[in-house]
């Protein structure tokens, strides 16, 4: 076991290295370049999948290289079940994206070499973050991951919007990194070692105040990577700006690494924490879920909608994680495991269906040359396979049976409902409100994806570019098809994942989750809740067939005649009569007007001869982000003010600079004592 894991690991690194070298070597032969580099990424991710299976079956390995950067502790890597599960998430997200990218990247002619190269750095960096066992390794590959993804986001840097998105992404990533650095270094100093697995053992000896501080700082860092509110502002800009397969990997996989870090610090590296840690995470999760989906609803850019939906799903995952922390604080170990199973299962499911949705959106955007849903429509007839896969992704993300999103949302509900076992009334109320938030999120997510799928694929085209859209290429369709099958399989046979996941969590927390399942049903806390997803799916299919047969038996008239849509006898039926994305979202804008604080503008351009002859009417109903206005804008304004004051120091006078150096030296000498 030990040797096979190390062999797999080394071959994975070899694949990615070859891919990176291949990108540089084949830089001029575009077609060869994209096939080779993304082929290597695909191969590497399949190997990562193999490594994760090995790890989930109990295989571990360790690799310590003290020779590299010895002053900072050297490199240390190790595989345990939790890392193996996150490797599974990485593989599930990256493999289809790489397959997709083989033909998708033909639309970026000059940039294929740099994209391929960066992807071959990005994916192994993520893998190595998950395998990291000491501070240097973790932070080194964390930064490598951030930088590689930054360059991938900046692929289309000729657009100003992309540059702004990349810049914000860079700033937020490094702000997060600063938080992580503070936390990691403080904890290393307090526990005396750079090795994180040692921290768990010495954690109880460290002062509680220090641990609380470290938790807050590191949680802020990890939550900014995960894209939880209020640190999410980079997500809805960076993900739409990046090429779609990169958005898929970032949204499906990279943000989960923030969750990985959070789980590690809260459950393992910082020891047993107080209950308020879990309460904070629970509240962040509830707010992220609700606000994420509310902002997703009002987007008319398809990829921004998917990006905000990622914020929402991170919120759902954090609800599970927060509940787990709270249960653990009250020594309800098996319930904590159940909550964590729910959260991690949602991590995997989200990786699958979000990747599927981004890949589908990428195909659509590529064919229609626009990201604006208001110019799409009727694509189901022109791109039937893409549309079908996108529908499956939408059903899965809306949490509808018989797909995988339903199972993880159900588990999260059960974990939240079982909170009545905690004897603190305030927490009971908090949990009740979280259940309400999750329920509202589920309903709003369904509405959001009715909009996303319905406006994009159904009815008549709203723009001129739709007519020349044709179906995506074979590898693109194959990648989406694979993910759709996974969505259905994990929804009908959840035991496939629940078994290794339960073992993982049992090993990680020490208690088996309050969950029993076999191939056709799941029950949480014995008789508290039971579902049988397999039988449900079977019965649903049988019923559809029965209805069809029954109709025939009844002598039903099966004649079908095609005629125009009923428009009250109107002579014309064009796309102008259809509902738009903005119109669909209008009831939500009204109900949640306090949140959106939207601005309504109507511009009427009239004929110069007479104001009664109207040429054009432009109507805009823009929503504003309450967090950006009330949190980030003041911070940015303050920073700008302070920077303006600090600029006075840069007088350009050499003498004053020499004076500053003198003052700094004196201060150092004084304080170093």
């Amino acid at each position: 076991m030990l040797e096979s894991a190390t062999i797999l690991f080394s071959s994975t690194l070899l694949f990615f290295a070859s891919g990176a070298i291949g990108a540089l070597v084949c830089a001029r032969h575009h077609d060869l370049c994209r096939r080779v580099t993304h082929g290597f990424v695909f191969g590497g991710s399949v190997l990562i999948f193999g490594l994760s299976i090995l790890g989930l079956l109990g295989g571990t390995f360790e690799l310590v290289l003290p020779g590299i950067l010895p002053f900072a502790g050297g490199l240390a890597l190790g595989l345990d079940r939790l890392s193996a599960f996150f490797l599974l998430i990485i593989a599930t997200g990256v493999a289809p994206s790489a397959l997709y990218a083989i033909s998708y990247t033909r639309h970026y002619p000059q940039k294929q070499s740099s994209m391929g190269f960066m992807l071959n750095i990005f994916v192994p960096a993520m893998m190595l973050v998950v395998l990291a066992r000491n501070v240097l390794t973790f932070l080194l590959f964390w930064e490598a991951m951030s930088l590689a993804s930054y360059f991938l986001v900046m692929t289309e840097s000729e657009h100003e919007e992309t540059c702004k998105a990349g810049w914000l992404y860079l700033v937020m990533m490094h702000a997060g990194l600063a938080c992580l650095l503070i936390g990691f270094l403080a904890m290393s100093q307090a526990s005396g070692t750079f090795d994180m697995s040692e921290w768990a053992r010495s954690a109880s000896g460290i002062d509680m105040g220090m641990r609380n501080l470290v938790f807050l700082v590191m949680a802020a860092g990890f939550l900014s990577k995960a894209g939880a509110i209020p640190f999410h502002v980079w997500l809805p800009r960076a993900h739409p700006a990046a090429p779609s397969h990169v958005s898929a990997v970032m949204s499906g996989v990279m943000i989960k690494l923030g969750v990985y870090g959070l789980i590690r610090i809260a459950f393992e590296w910082l020891g047993q924490g107080p209950a308020w840690w879990g309460a904070v995470i629970l509240m962040v999760g509830a707010v992220s879920a609700l606000l994420g989906v509310l902002y997703a609803l009002v987007q008319h850019d398809l990829k921004s909608l998917l990006a905000f939906s990622s914020v929402e799903n991170i919120g759902i995952i954090l609800l599970g994680v927060g509940a787990g922390l709270l249960f653990r604080a009250y020594n309800l170990g098996s319930l904590a495991s159940l909550a964590l199973v729910a959260g991690l299962y949602h991590c995997l499911n989200h990786a699958i269906f979000k990747t599927l949705l981004f890949l589908g959106a990428g195909a659509v955007v590529e064919e229609t040359h626009t990201r604006n849903m208001e110019e799409m429509g009727g694509l189901l007839k022109r791109m039937p396979h893409t549309g079908g896969y996108f529908l499956i992704g939408s059903l899965a993300i809306a949490g509808l049976p018989p797909f995988n999103g339903f199972i993880s949302e159900w588990l999260t509900f059960q974990a939240l409902m079982l909170s009545f076992n905690i004897p603190v009334q305030f927490l009971n109320l908090l949990f009740a409100l979280s259940i309400a938030a999750l329920a509202m999120t589920a309903g709003l997510a369904a509405a959001c994806f009715v909009k996303a799928f319905g406006i994009t694929f159904l009815a008549l085209p709203r723009g001129e570019t739709v007519d020349q859209a044709h179906e995506a290429s074979r590898t693109m369709r194959a990648s989406m098809g694979l993910l759709s099958v996974a969505c259905l399989a994990l929804g009908v046979l959840p035991a496939l994942v629940l078994r290794p996941l339960s073992n993982t969590i049992a090993e990680f927390i020490g208690d088996r989750p309050e969950l029993s399942f076999n191939w056709n049903n799941i029950s949480a806390a014995d008789v508290f809740a039971v579902i049988a997803p397999f039988w449900m799916a079977m019965i649903l299919v049988v019923l559809i067939l029965t209805v069809w047969v029954g109709l025939h038996a009844f002598g039903t008239n099966f004649h079908r005649r095609y005629y125009e849509t009923w428009g009250c006898g109107r002579a014309l039926q064009t796309a102008a009569f259809e509902y738009t994305a903005a119109a669909f979202a209008y009831p939500f804008k009204r109900v949640f007007a306090l949140l959106y604080r939207s601005i309504e503008e109507t511009e009427i351009e009239a004929h110069p001869e007479s104001r009664f002859f109207v040429k054009t009417i432009t109507y805009r109903h823009e929503t504003r982000s309450i967090i950006e206005d009330s949190v980030y804008a003041p911070i940015a304004a303050t920073v700008r003010r302070l920077a303006a004051k600090a600029r006075k120091l840069q007088s350009g006078n050499v003498h004053s600079y020499l004076f500053y150096i003198l003052v700094a030296l004196l201060a150092l000498v004084l304080f170093a004592k």
């Binding site: 004649h559 005649r561 005629y563 125009e564 009923w566 009250c568 109107r570 002579a571």
Partner: protein
């Protein structure tokens, strides 16, 4: 609220009893629908009212059909909003130029098998609007008609009788 509930419970059922029959001459045209279908329609008929140009006198009488006194629902008849849901088109008035096309579209949007009942003298032969510049012709000039209920306007009882007779009649006299 109390007043409303008291009124609801105090009011008795005011529907007239029995099936309406009239002495007036109801015209039946053609035998376009199958006997079996006629039986189904006899117990459940969804009606879509179309007004391609009437003076609304017939509409007022048709509105009376929904009132508690005439109550057409007790015969299984019901007015619907969409022609896709309808089995019978109730057309009033002559067909004006602007409404000829919408009338035809409404007819085409209604699924087969369907009936068309033309109500009033205007729908039969344009009535007092015959020869006017805005009028295309009677309803039968635009869509095929099954039953004509004459009158200006016909009483609700006559309209009801016309529809019911169309569904019950086994012997269809073909006129034209």
């Amino acid at each position: 609220m109390k007043l409303l509930l008291r009124n609801i419970f105090k009011t008795h059922v005011v529907t007239e009893s029995g099936r309406p029959s009239v002495d007036e001459h109801i015209e039946m045209i053609g035998g376009r629908i199958h006997e079996q279908v006629r039986k189904q329609f006899g117990r459940s008929l969804h009606i879509r009212e179309v007004d391609p140009g009437s003076c609304n006198g017939c509409e007022l009488e048709i509105t009376g059909l929904n009132s508690p006194y005439y109550d057409l629902e007790r015969f299984g008849l019901q007015f619907v909003a969409s022609p896709r849901h309808a089995d019978c088109l109730l057309v009033t008035g002559p067909v004006t130029r602007n409404m000829a096309d919408p009338l035809r579209r409404t007819y085409d949007a209604t699924p087969d098998p369907k009936l068309v009942v033309a109500v009033g003298d205007c729908s039969r032969d344009c009535g007092i609007f015959a020869g006017a510049y805005g009028v295309v012709g009677p309803v039968s000039a635009v869509i095929p008609v099954d039953v004509v209920v004459p009158g200006c306007p016909p009483t609700p009882r006559a309209i009801l009788a016309g529809i019911l007779q169309a569904l019950e009649s086994r012997k269809i006299r073909s006129v034209r």
